[in-house]
């Protein structure tokens, strides 16, 4: 035994267990996120339960646990309870309810029970009772109503889509133009023009737009009038609720769905998640604007960070005279990578937003003041802040690449009469290109996951418009934007209904993790390829 301990092997095993523990942590975290997030869109079976006190509830069982009992000495009592997602928030006040198993008299899985996903108040669990067209009843009975509901729903959905298109594109466009005219008028007034043909033309244009606006509003009202179908539903405990057909997103009967039916529903909800706007203060619907904002921000950041990072690395390694100054700069650049991201955010706010943005506003947008145009957080400032945050990553990666390019390659090029620029451009740059790519990918991965600096430089929980749209100048870099990481923080911690939103946050997390991990893996693979290539090409 003594010899065994002196051999040191047990200690090796203890150090190994630390590594194993760390690996288990990573696996556990990823597993938790995947399990909690991927199952969210899967339609679960609906159970209808009758309680001892005569109440009836319908919903899906989300969790089961022993009933905690803080009073007695033991932590839990022996019996179990489960968490039912009961829906019908407008009737019951909350989405979830804990049910003691001993109170349950009967459980049933009726085929005809339906889940109605609504645009407001979350899902409704219950049965359709009758369908109304205006005031007249057009279908009665559960099955007939259901058949009619399913038959009419696609048309209603398409009307809703058209109405939304009019709202967003037509009316939104007119409002955008009207705002531009208002600013033009204001700018003329600031220059001292109070009358004149220019002003009259603007006024005429404004009136024309107003007419157009009114026309579109009429069209919208007419469109909305085409669907007057209402459905009366009854919940498990007998309460009736009338829902307009246009207010329904999706209706299905989970208990009669086959596996492939469920799969289809799953994909449709997943697609809604990645392609639609959020609903219900971000707790339902999709995260498309957040995906768009994240991607666009990372893209702008890459456009800025690549040239500056690469040029700075060339300066440090190829152009500057090596000495204490350059070493100091190199250490400073390395340290910049260790400066907390929130500090970059504070700098971005103080410099980009208030100093640069404020000056731009005073010089170019005085007509909009005091409401700021560039003098407030926006996607451009957030991207520039992150570019500064990630520039050390690109510099360090490029410098490493430059160090690996053999001296002989440069000397050969110079000896053949090439200028320094030509050597760099034709010989060195192609050789370090994979390193630059690695650095850029790592920078993108870091930028995609950062949230803290964005919180003070322009991210919002709900952006009214995307930073790119069809109205000139098409790119609106001053706009505030949505971001996946901030979405996680906001919905998970600031949402009014955190419990209901939680699965959605896990799904958003998966999305963010997929982006970040995929970028990192790409960088690792590129780096490994590169080191192999360099090893073989070494002179």
């Amino acid at each position: 035994m003594n010899r065994f301990i002196r051999s040191g092997d047990p200690f090796i095993w203890v150090t190994g267990s630390a590594l194993a523990f760390a690996l288990l942590l990573v696996a556990g975290l990823l597993g938790l996120v995947l399990v909690s997030g991927l199952g969210f869109f899967w339609p679960r079976s609906m159970v209808e339960i009758s309680l001892a006190d005569g109440r009836k509830l319908a919903g899906s069982i989300e969790a089961r646990e022993r009933i905690p009992d803080p009073q007695s000495g033991k932590k839990t009592t022996g019996s179990w309870r489960f968490k039912l997602k009961q829906g019908n928030r407008d009737l019951y006040g909350s989405d979830f309810v804990w049910v003691d198993e001993k109170d349950v008299r009967e459980r049933a899985y009726p085929k005809e029970i339906a889940v109605i996903e609504r645009r407001e108040w979350g899902a409704f669990h219950g049965r359709p009772l009758k369908v109304l067209e205006g005031e007249t009843v057009v279908a009665e009975g559960v099955d007939r109503s259901w058949a009619l509901l399913i038959q009419r729903l696609p048309a209603a959905l398409s009307v809703y889509d058209q109405a939304r298109r009019i709202e967003k594109d037509e009316l939104g466009g007119i409002n955008f133009k009207k705002e531009k005219i208002r600013l033009k008028r204001r700018s003329l007034e600031l220059k001292g023009h109070s009358k004149g043909s220019a002003l009259d033309a603007l006024k005429a244009e404004e009136e024309r737009l107003q007419k157009l606006f009114d026309k579109q509003m009429e069209a919208l009202a007419a469109l909305r009038g085409t669907v007057r179908t209402n459905v009366v539903f009854v919940s498990a405990d007998g309460q009736e609720k009338q829902v307009a057909l246009t207010n329904i997103v999706r209706a299905y009967r989970p208990n009669e769905l086959s596996f492939f039916g469920r799969l289809g529903l799953y994909s449709s909800r997943l697609w809604e998640f990645v392609s639609e706007d959020p609903r219900e203060s971000n707790t339902e619907g999709g995260v498309f604007p957040a995906i768009f904002g994240t991607v666009m921000m990372v893209f702008i950041m890459s456009l800025v960070v690549t040239p500056f990072g690469v040029l700075a690395a060339f300066y440090l390694r190829e152009y500057a005279r090596q000495g204490p100054f350059v070493s100091a700069v190199r250490i400073a650049v390395n340290n910049l990578a260790g400066v907390p991201s929130i500090v970059f955010g504070v700098f971005g706010l103080g410099f980009f937003v208030y100093i640069v943005g404020g000056s731009i506003d005073r010089l170019f947008f005085p007509e909009a003041l005091p409401s700021p145009t560039y003098g407030t957080g926006g996607i451009l400032w957030a991207s520039l802040t992150l570019a500064l945050l990630t520039v050390p990553v690109v510099i360090v990666a490029t410098e490493e690449g430059l160090a690996a390019v053999p001296r002989g390659a440069r000397e050969a090029s110079l000896a053949l009469g090439a200028t320094k620029f030509e050597t760099m451009w034709r010989v060195v740059l192609p050789a370090v290109f994979p390193s630059v790519l690695t650095g850029l990918i790592l920078a993108m991965a870091r930028a995609a996951g950062e949230v803290a600096p964005l919180m003070i430089t322009g991210v919002v929980k709900l952006a009214p418009a995307l930073p790119i749209d069809e109205f000139p100048p098409f790119f609106h870099l001053e706009r505030k934007f949505m971001h996946l990481g901030f979405h996680i923080y906001d919905v998970g911690f600031q949402s009014p209904n955190v419990e209901a939103a939680q699965p959605m946050v896990y799904t958003t997390t998966i999305l963010l993790l997929v982006v970040v991990v995929a970028l990192n893996l790409t960088a690792i693979i590129v780096r490994n390829r590169l080191s192999k290539k360099l090893r073989t090409s070494g002179l």
Binding site: L316, V391, S413, V451
Partner: protein
Amino acid sequence: MAPISTTSDGGLDVPARPGVAARKKARRFLADRIARRLVYGSGVLVILAIAAILFVLFSVALPLLLPPKATPHQAVDLGFSEPVLAFVTDEYRENGVACLPSGFVQFSLVESGPGPTRIDTPGIGEAKIVQGFVTASGGLAAGLSDGRLLPVDVAFETSFEGSKRQIRTVVTPGKPLVVDEGGRPTELAKYLVRDGSTKVSARVGPRDVAILEATETANLMGESTREEKRELIQLQAAGEITALAMDARGDDLFLGTSTGEVIRFDRRAGEDRGQKESVFVARSRTTAVTALGFLNGDRTLIAGDAAGGVVSLQMLQPDGRPRTLTPMNQFEAHKGRVVGISPSRRDKGFVTIDDGGEVKVHYGTTGKTLLSLRAEGARLTGTSFAPKADGVLAARADGKILHWSLQNPHPEITLRTLFGKVWYEGYNEPGYVWQSTGGTDDFEAKFSLTPLIFGTLKGTFYALIVAIPLALFGALYTSQFLHPNLKSIIKPGVEIMAALPSVVLGFVAGLWLAPAVERVVPGILATIIVVPVFAFAASAVWERVPTALKRAVPAGYEILFLLPVVLLALWVGLQIGHQIEHSLLHGDYRAFFLKVLGLTYDQRNSVVVGLAMGFAVIPIIFTVAEDSLSSVPKNLTAGSLALGATRWQTALRTVLPTASPGIFSAIMIGFGRAVGETMIVLMATGNTPVMDWSPFNGFRAMSANVAVELPEAPEGGTLFRVLFVAALLLFAMTFVVNTAAELVRLRLRKKYRTYE
């Protein structure tokens, strides 16, 4: 046109025509020069960017500590050659109303404004004005020689015509109130109206104070009835009354005496009513208290004495003891007799004047005197802090009003308020407090960075406690004992761990880990012991495994065997924790912690942060430490092994000491990361700025505080600048630590080179 280019790298060009070749050459050199400029420019830009970060943070934070400045304006002569007893001005310091011994006057402070005009106050009648003062609501009042008091309501109505500002002064003389039915002159009076009731207290004799309480109640018919209550109070102490103050709630009456004391009279209904404690504030028993006044909010009392001393006092109620008047700060003394006090209506600042012509601006909370201004000429009789706290006015006995503009945007900030203990109003003792927003108008923001720095360090401490052992043991194992094939998989795995966005970790920590940890705290504590024991046991089992089987598994593959062992150990640890909790802690560890250790349990606490932030720091420490451990020169380890040392001895005695600077620098870099981590601490702590080392309480870290409060802070305001100070501190902390780590690493690299 284009010459033939033989090589892609532009080396040899065969010129078609000599002129073209020369032009081409010029162009090539031009391109070279442009490229050089561009590269140099970018290099300089990056250097500038680093400098700019420091510069911007610094330039925003600096105005906090700049000394205040005052610029004098032209004095305004009211033209009556009478002393100004009291006066008020509008918030732009353009118009004012003054009380003179001969009556009330409306005047303008701007040169182009109209001349002074008298205001008709028929209520005075035959009486004379013996005293004038500013009322709690910003109006004026005059004490009359016949025992009455005349309130005069003053309002400044601001309107805008386009961009031009118009201010109309509305002066409404009220009905005189009979304060002393004996008809003695009302000097040193205080007047306040609150919820329909009027309270007046005035000195009517050397040792007598008359008090009038008038309440107006409207009945259902819309008629109002007026009820008046009068009371006479006699001073039960030596000396005469020389100053008087009454707080806006009407709780207490304070009298200053000629013997240098401030005596409190409790005015609340109940047993405590009557004369209470006296506090000696002057320099000697013969120095009279000559001025009393409240700061904004009417909680801190300022007393000035005949020898020039200025002190602040407040009513405190330490646990279980009765309310008492307690001295707080002593301010820079005047040379002459203090004759007037005027509080700022914005903050806790105030102005004092003496009869020698000195005006001083103080800040109540910090106890600091910000400015001393000299007023030449006749003695000073009254003062007024401008409503926006951006100017100081003082009236002279010859009827002139002196006027200074004040540049003092952040009077409440000193290095001491940022980092030291400050005695805030309503607190029983000085303390470190961060509270940037409050509900009421007279709320005083409290900007002590100390609890935030403490929170940052506490979070870092717990994160490092979790991360250092795991990361260093893991790095040691990976570098020395792990099979190279596995290493090429595991290292990128850990690197991926570093790339996980902190918002994800924070979210999981706050919403999943915090409630999970709450259930299994004893289990987690047990796991710390169980896991190493299991690893130990596993190695003992492996020792007994037949050699033939051992051969099949190459050295360095233990980790695969260890994964299930650690998993099992975790489960066993949690079970043991449950058993301990049931049998020893009576089934509820939280009650046990509270009763035996005196620790309260928050769900989002430092253990949760430690685990989550530890998770974020592990890969950073791991990578740097593993690098330095792996690059220990092979001839050292080979030598050790050749001399008969075991693998473990070599690792412990040779590799670890050699690489120790690298390990130190790894821990430093991990420290830097933990200090600045924002989203995890934001989401996994309760964000309460408490100072308490308990692992089961939350904290508020600087980084999270900046992230939460900066979007709400108005640009250029005090909070905005203080948050920049916090950012500057974070920058400085990480920059210093990282530079140290980097220098250590560079030296280590040099050292390794000598072995090769």
